[in-house]
């Protein structure tokens, strides 16, 4: 049997996490969640997910800081990270990509966009 892959949804909005989790579950991921970068990092240290859908602006630890620290963790290079943020200025998006995000989703998004981006990075 194929192992069920996990997708960690990191967003400070509970509603947003719910929406995103429903979508990734339709894409046959197990959806898990974290409310900020630090919570996400704690999760990753315990069990490295296969994919991470990552908001940028969050309290405690933002998405970029989380990504920087994640990549310094043992096995932290493995998760495919897709940013998912309302930030849509090209130079800011480039910054996220330069930090090692595989793809970038600009909010607002829908299921088709997540599916299209996951496909583009080989997750589905």
């Amino acid at each position: 049997m194929k192992r069920v892959r996990t997708c960690l949804v990191v967003d400070d909005s509970r509603v947003m996490r719910k929406v995103a989790i429903r979508i990734v579950e339709q894409l046959e991921f197990e959806g898990v969640e974290a409310g900020d970068g630090l919570e996400a990092l704690t999760y990753c240290r315990a069990a490295m997910p296969d994919a991470i859908l990552l908001d940028w602006s969050m309290p405690v630890m933002d998405g970029i800081e989380f990504l920087r620290r994640l990549r310094a963790e043992p096995d932290g290079a493995r998760p495919v990270v897709v940013f998912c943020s309302a930030e849509s200025r090209p130079e800011r998006i480039r910054l996220a990509i330069d930090h090692g995000a595989a793809e970038y989703i600009m909010k607002p998004f829908d299921g088709d966009i997540i599916a299209s981006k996951f496909e583009a990075v080989g997750l589905i």
């Binding site: 090209p90 970038y104 829908d110 583009a120």
Partner: protein, 283 residues
Amino acid sequence: MTPADLDFVAALVRAHAGVVIRADKAFFIETRLGPVARREKVPGVPALLEKLRQTPDPVLTRQVVEATLMQETSFFRDRAVFERIGKVLLPELAARRPDGRLRVLCAGCATGQEAYSIAMLATDLAAPAAVEIVAVDFGQFPLEKARTGLYTHFEVQRGLPIRRLLAHFDKIDENWRIRADLRQMVQWVELNLLDDLTGLGNFDLVLCRNVLGSLTPEAQTRVLASLEAACRPDAVLVVGAQETPALSAAFRPAGSPGLWQRSPTVAPVPSSASTPVPARTQA
């Protein structure tokens, strides 16, 4: 819209664009014709069609036909096909041309995403500027949008990798506009594919994707014959990944669903191209 209204519209669309309208499309057709009725200042779709029955005005007919055509498209639609075009076909074709000059035809280009996807792939070549893309559609509105190169937040997130977005687009308010160097690579032509296409010239790569499937068998045969005739002896013809057109023996499958390679040694389209060849299925 009554069944008679739908039949009337279907007959117009079949006669003018060769496109088949299925009976279950009544709701879609009515929604699309609403704005045409408003532009014509008539009280609704039935009145619009009545007006057209009374006086078959060619301009209005055209608008009605255009409004019923499905323009669904996206950037890099069927990713694997574009991967092959970008990594293998374009470089191979360009290498065979001493000056790197390549001509690409997008037949049924809708709002332009397909043509611009090719333009983006061409930027990976040694001489992108030597690639000339001719994009043809029946619809005035989609072509107008294609020409401006302006796409919404949602459109640029369907199939378009973020790196391509950053490399080739500028953000304008909430929309994104493809840059001038790529816009200049494409020539937009308002043309019915049922008409004579010889004026467009010959091509190294011909795309006609997700168009043939909507046509009547006669229209399919006609369009395929025109497209085959537009192919240079070593050209590649690309149809929709799910489409299996009745091509002549000069074309064989080229490694990816929907891709067909013309063989320079097999005689070109026979003059009896109007008799359909049985559809071949690809491995």
